[in-house]
Every structure is written in C-alpha cells, then in structure tokens.
Amino acid sequence: MRVSALPRFWAFIVPIVSVVVALLIASVIIIMIGKSPIEAYTILLKGAFGSSSAIANTIVKTTPLILTGLAVGFGFRAGVFNIGAEGQMVMGALMATLVAINLGSVPPFIAITITLLVGMLAGAGWAAIAGYLKAKTGAHEVVTTIMLNWIATYLSSYMVQVPLAVGSGTPKSPEIAPSTKLPELLTVGAINMNAGIIVSIIAAILLYIILEKTTMGYEVKAAGFNPYAAEYGGISLSKNITMSMAISGALAGLAGAIELTGVHYRFLGTLSGGKGFDGISIALIGQNNPIGIIFAALLMGALRTGSNEMQFAGIPKHIVMIIQGIVIFLVAADRIVRTSMIIMDKKERIAQETKRFVKRAVILSIIIIVSMFLSKEGLWSFLGKFGYYVGKVFWVIELVSLLSLMIVVALYIISAVISLGMVYSRRKKVKS
C-alpha cells in the first residue's frame, strides 16, 4: 500500500473544493425554487458576519460545533465512527441539568466545573455503551449509536414532559441554578456571548496535544490505522475502542453541557438539533485535525446562523443539510475530487490543460445559451400542455450545464493556484 507523499496542504484541498462544489450545487437548487443564489448567499454572509451581534451569534453557534466536530474527529482517528454524538450531547445536557438545578448553594466556579464534568461523564458513559458492545461483541458502532440516539431522544422528551416538566407550552425543565451559568464574555444586543468558546478552543488544543505528543495519542492513532498491527504492538484493542468512544462521547457531552449552561439555561427536549450530525461534516472538512476542526466548525456555525436569515427570505434552512451532505459525500469519495484536480507544473501541461479547459467552457456556454433560448416561456406552447414540460426540460439542461460550467471554472482556478504554489515551493527548495 502506497501512502501519498504530497505536501501537507493537500489534505485540505479536497474539503475546500468540496465546500465550493457543494455551494455551487446548492445555488442551482436555490434557482430551481425560483430564488436568486447570489441574494441568498449575500443574506447568508450578512446573517453570519454582517454585524457585531451576528458575529457573536455565529461564535455561540460555533462553540458546541467545535466540540461535536472534535468528538467525531477523534473517533475517526481512533478508527471508530461515532455517529451518535447527537445522543451523547443530549445525555450530557440532560444529566448536567439534573445536577445543575440542585447546585444553588455551591459557589459558581465549582458549580460550573461540576456541571460540565457531569455532562462529560454522561456523554462518555452513553458512548462507552457502544464502545463496549463493539469491543465485546463486534456490534457495529454505527448501528448501536443510532439506536442509542433514538433512545436518548425519547428519554429526553419523556424527561421534559413528565419528571422535569415546568410551566406550560413547550416542554422544558426548570432553570438551572444561577451559580452554574457560564459567565458572559460580552453582550451584543440580545446575544450573550458566553465563555463556552474558550472551553471549546482549550479542548481542541488539548486534543491536539494528546494526539500528536503523547503515547496515548500514538496508540489511539495506531489502532485507527491498523488494528492488527496495534494489537501486535501491545495495544489492547477492546480497551482502546471503549476508551476512544468514551473520550469522543465526553466531548459531545461537554457540548451539551455548554449549550445548557451558556445558552438555554434549561433543558429543552430538542436541544441538540442536528449538532451531533454536523460534527461529522466538521470532522471531515477539518480532516480530523483539531485545529482544522475549529475552522470547519466556524464555517458550519456561520452556515447555521446565516441560514436562519435565509429562512426569512424564503429559502428553507434545510439547504445547509444538503450542502453538508454533498461535502461529506465528496470528502468520503475524495478520489472524485483528486482526480479532477489538474497539476500544471510544466509548460506543456499548462498549455494542454488550458486548451482543454477553454474547450469545455466554450461547449458548456453554447449549451447554456441555446437551452436558455429554447426554454423561453411560450416557445413550445403550440405543443399544448406537453410543451410546458419540453420547456422545463431545457430549463433543467440549462441549469445543469450552468452548474457544470461553474464547477469546471472553479476546479481550474483552484488547480492553477495549487500548481503555482507547488512550483513556487519547489523553487524555494532548490534555492535552499
């Protein structure tokens, strides 16, 4: 088996291209429902970064995403696919709530520490069930964690409907004790930016140190790469799987506890809202690298915040899910992206590839213009009702070729930038 020896930045090229392609595909979907993608993305950007309160909101949204991204990413490094961050987050928040509503008489610093620890423990315990089952019986963690997700969901909705229920309207728990609330860093308008972001970033740095500098990290990664060799090298697989799942779950549980103590102050049954699943795309975009994950989470947090604004403009926020799905798809099948990258490191290649690119672009443009004309309303009306569909077909052709053109252009630009970078770095090496 050959391992790619490409420069390090290559690792992030695939996720970056994937995000670009996903945004392009999503823009076509937006056109299809009759909206303007440019307007949509402008709203999204404004919603995420347009004002100080928007930025604060984005950071608040990013906080738990860093942690769920770390949870999934750490799992990937250890060779387990923790698709259950969702349930672990819920369990973390739920248990933290049970403790936090009773910590009124404890000084804040201790109370917060206890609450967050309980959240971590609960998440760790919930994930460790799946880890233990995998280690003991070989039950695949994807199936077991999904089952645990559903159990957690129903359990939490039961908890807020019955034992913890207060007030009327949306089911919710009582508010947690004031001493357990995370301190606010700053308040912008209606948005309180809590100290959770600091906790998340510290967690990312700690995880980076564990993975890269410690013996434990060495063993976790070894087991993830090649379990047989790891076992041969004195690493207990069953211990490692359970422990990795527990650490992964602890991070997700911490995310739940921070949401509780920093944002909602009470347990709502639907607290997680897909943040666990977001962790998967974040981990993949961040290439399971803790520092990369911080940036990937920021991207996803911005998408989440901005998409709320898009919702007001009539674009369902599910578009974010579609974007995420496409990104995960392309990162998982990364050869699709890698194969479509063109390295133009020699003069002949530049000419050759540019010629091919221009040819493609021209053909696609012609198709677009022709089908634009052919899809004009009323053009096919002599065919009656059938004509309406003919027009629609050309409209779809137009959109698809427009999309292809955009992707071709994007790939060419990105390839050109990479090629330049490679040539440049090679020159530098030669000089030194």
Binding site: A229, G233, G234
Partner: protein, 511 residues
C-alpha cells in the same frame, strides 16, 4: 515469421509500473505440449508477465501470439476464450460456495437461460475430475476442504473452460513434498493429454524434475533460455541472481543454555472456532534456534499468535523465564522480553500510514526513553531510528518516509531492526524472508545467527525447508496442529521431514 509450432509467443513485452520497469522487452517462446518453466527471484517480473498473458494486465509494448495467432487480451475473458487457464498462487476460490459451484462460476450451466443448473454442474465436474484423475468432492464447500484439493479445484476450473495452456503460478509453495509429487503426476497426465503448461517457480530442484525448457528472468529481463536436459541447478541459479550463490550459510557451533520458553499441551482455536493447535509442547533454550517446519495452514499461524499473546489459549500452559505466562497480553509479554517478527509484515508488523520513526517504536512505545510520563520523546525516537537505519542498512535513509513506501525488503529490515533493538530474551520469528531477494535473505539469516550467539532463544517458523535446515538447531514438524516429531538437521533428510509434513509421525517414518 510464423509461430505455428508454439503454443505461446510473447514478443518484446514491456510493462512499466510507477516505480519499476517490471518487464523490459521480454521474449517468451513456449512449444506446444511442453512443460515450460519460468524461474526467477521475487520481483523478477514472472507474475507480471503471466498476468499479461492472462489478460489481467495490459502490456505497454509487445505482442502476444497464441497458437500462432496474434491476440489482444483485454481481460481474463479473452484469455479464457483463447484457451488459457491460470492456477493462481493464492487460490481464487469462493470459500462459501461448493466445489462444483466454484468450477462453473462465470460460465455456469443453466436452465432456460438464467436459472442455475446445479445438477448439470455437478455431473460435468465429476466427469472432468475422473477423466484427469483429479479427485474432488463436488458438494463440499471450499472452506471445508484441504489445500491440496483446493488446488485440484483450481486446475478443474481451467479445464472446464477448455484450457489448452495452463499457467501454474508457484503451485508447490503450499504443498508438502509428497503432495508436490502428486501434482507433478497430474501435470504429466495433462501433458499426455496434449496440454501445454507454464510452470512458475523459484525452487530449482522442482524445475529440474518437471520441466522441458526453462526461461530465467532477473530484474524484468530474460537472462537465459535453457533446455532442462542440458543444464544444471548451478547454471540456473547463476542466471537467476547474476552471481554465484552460496546455497547454505555457515552455522558456527554454539551450546544452548537454560530453557527460556516452554509450552505444555497448548490448544488454540482458529478464526472459525476449530482446533488449530492441538496439544503442542515445546521448549526453546537460550542460544538455540528451534525451527518449526510444515505446510502453510497447519496451525503455525495460530501457534505464533497464541505464544505472542494475540490469540486466546484454550488449554495448556506457557512458561517464560520460569514464570507462568499463560494468557498474558502482548504488552506484558513484551515487557518480559518477548520479540516477534510477524509472518505478515503489512498486517501486523507495520503501520503503513506512520512514518518510519513511529514504526521503529511500535510495541515499545510505552518504554522509557521513548515515552516519558506519557509524552513521546521525539528527539530520542528520531535518533534511535537514524542509528538503526545505519546499522541495518535500511534504504532510503529517510526516517520521515511512510512505512508503506519502503520496498518489501527494507520494510522487513525495519521490523527486524526494531525487534532486535528491543533486546529480547525470546524471539518468535515467522517467515522472516518471505518475498525477499537473496541479499536481504542472507542479511537476515546472519542477523538471526548473531542473536543466537548472544544467547537469545529463537523460535523460527518457516515454510521454506531450506531456511529451516540451515538455521535450526532442532526441527519440529507440525501437521494439522500437532507436532509430528523432533529431529536434528544434521541427522535427518528432506524426505524424512517431508513425510512428517504430510502427517506421518517420526516413529512411523523411521520404522
């Protein structure tokens, strides 16, 4: 020029891989009805050449003629249509299907087009097996039949497809000397029936016995075309490695000391839950190499895994340095001084995605000074790796290169260096030279003998009888999970060991 008299002609074949030139203008002429041997070391390009003849690979340059007709083989399908059949080294059989199903797979007997006609398949396979004397049980599942029979199924597969030219890729590697004789009988019968055969091997005695003509390859090129009746092993060997080879290495006398490792009535199960090791008892002394001979798949793998803590011990006892070590995990065993050169370096021995310096501490990563209070000491790790790279001549000298990017021989050197650097008291060495070239084999053999002189206890498991004979102080022969007997290399013969490998107890052999 006409190639009418030849079953196979390959002219000017060139095949390039990203890192090597696997075939460099190779010419091959195989006459109708002969057994033609192709010999060469691992990596000489034999398999690549044959994969092109079988349509699995496409030549970059060159032409192929079958029975005088130029062909363009786009895939195995074309090769089969041209009457070529291949008996692969690693059997290409589907474990959970029956013998009959395996034989007809891909060109099934059918009823009304799409229904599979199992009865017809069974009948045809039976007829075929009787015609050529290839005994098989048509209804048995592949996973339940012995290796020898699996090979016969492979041969039947080619005959069922009407093969006139059969390629045998290292067919004897998994057989006992006696099973090898049986295979040769089958091959002679096939020759009588007019079939042409290509026999790939690196075992010279076998080539001398069965072939009519020999093509020798080295580093992707043909170095000799010989007529078997007019040549000898020395000449072939010279063409194979490009220099005179010392067929055996010097083993200085050395007196073994106290018993380091001992098993008593050891029972181990395989992956399917069947008994693979049945009551093995053995002792290894300090400064002694104990060799375990046997055909692959007779419980050696399971024995090694049990000894090194990778597999559960069902029954029995392991004593290490006078201490009961039954059921210890690999970590604990390593702490006690056990090292292990695994038979499959890519599965067990290396983490291909880790750089060399991380691979150099695998299995020792928790030891001081590599690990200090839970943190890795990268500086020490780099320096140790650099030192060992020099000492063991691992190439290239790039400690940042990923484990997977080294060549097979250098990967093995890396593993050997690491295990010896652990300063073991007991070493389990499984198939240490599989797939290596002569130079690397010599190096590893010398290293093992040096360890013996330093009073390390060594258990050597190998399928290569020659290796066992030249290194071991004592030889144990394993068959179906049991020890058939213990002999000393200087007091026994290959035939005697061969009979034990085929399941005869030492007493039976000698009586």
């Amino acid at each position: 020029m006409s190639y009418e008299d030849y079953a196979v002609v390959m002219k000017g074949i060139v095949k390039r891989f990203p890192s090597v030139l696997a075939n460099d203008h190779v010419d091959l002429f195989v006459k109708k009805g002969e057994i033609h041997a192709i010999v060469g070391e691992n990596g000489a390009g034999k398999s690549t050449l044959m994969n092109q003849l079988y349509g699995l690979l496409k030549p970059d340059e060159g032409e192929i003629y079958i029975f005088g007709k130029k062909v363009d083989l786009k895939g195995p399908k074309d090769a089969i249509a041209n009457g070529i059949g291949m008996v692969h080294q690693h059997f290409m059989l589907v474990d959970n299907l029956t013998v009959a199903e395996n034989v007809v797979l891909g060109s099934e007997t059918t009823k009304s087009g799409f229904l599979f006609d199992l009865n017809e398949a069974r009948k045809k396979v039976k007829e075929l097996s009787e015609k050529y004397g290839l005994l098989v049980d048509v209804d048995a599942k592949i996973e339940d039949i012995p290796v020898g029979m699996q090979q016969r199924v492979e041969i039947l597969k080619t005959l069922y497809r009407g093969a006139e030219i059969l390629i045998f890729d290292e067919p004897t590697a998994v057989l006992t000397p006696q099973e090898t004789e049986e295979l040769f009988d089958v091959m002679r019968r096939l020759k009588e029936a007019g079939k042409t055969m290509i026999f790939i091997s690196h075992k010279l005695n076998e080539v001398m016995e069965i072939s009519d003509n020999i093509t020798v390859m080295r580093l992707g090129k043909v170095t000799a075309n010989l007529k078997t009746s007019e040549t000898n092993e020395v000449e072939i060997a010279r063409a194979m490695v490009g220099r005179e080879v010392v067929l055996r290495i010097e083993k200085p006398p050395h007196k073994p000391k106290e018993v380091v490792f001992e098993t008593e009535d050891l029972w181990v199960k395989d992956n399917r839950g069947l008994d693979a090791v049945k009551g093995v008892s053995l002792k290894v002394r300090a400064g002694e190499i104990v060799g375990i001979a046997g055909v692959a798949g007779n419980g050696q793998t399971e024995l090694v895994e049990a000894i090194t803590g990778l597999r559960k011990i069902e029954k029995g006892k392991i004593t290490l340095l006078g201490q009961d070590a039954t059921g210890y995990d690999p970590r604990r065993l390593r702490d006690m001084g056990v090292a292990h050169i695994p038979e499959d370096r890519l599965k067990h021995g290396l983490i291909v995605q880790y750089p060399a310096y991380y691979n150099m501490i695998l299995g020792q990563q928790w030891w001081y000074p590599y690990s200090n209070r839970g943190f890795l000491n990268h500086q020490v790790i780099y320096e140790t790796t650099k030192k060992l790279f020099e000492e063991y001549d691992v190439r290239p000298r790039d400690i940042n290169m990923f484990g997977g990017n080294f060549s097979g021989g250098n990967q093995q050197k890396l593993v050997v260096a690491r295990e010896i650097n652990a300063k073991p008291k007991f070493m389990v060495v499984a198939q240490p030279t599989r797939g290596l070239d002569v130079g690397a084999i010599e190096f590893i053999h010398k290293t093992l003998l040096k360890m013996r002189e330093q009073d390390v206890a060594i258990l050597l498991i190998s399928m290569e009888l020659e290796e066992i004979f030249s290194l071991s102080d004592r030889i144990l022969v394993m068959y179906e999970g049991e020890i058939m007997g213990e002999v000393r290399p200087e007091e026994t013969t290959v035939e005697e060991v061969g009979l034990m490998m085929a399941g005869k107890k030492l007493e039976e052999v000698r009586s």
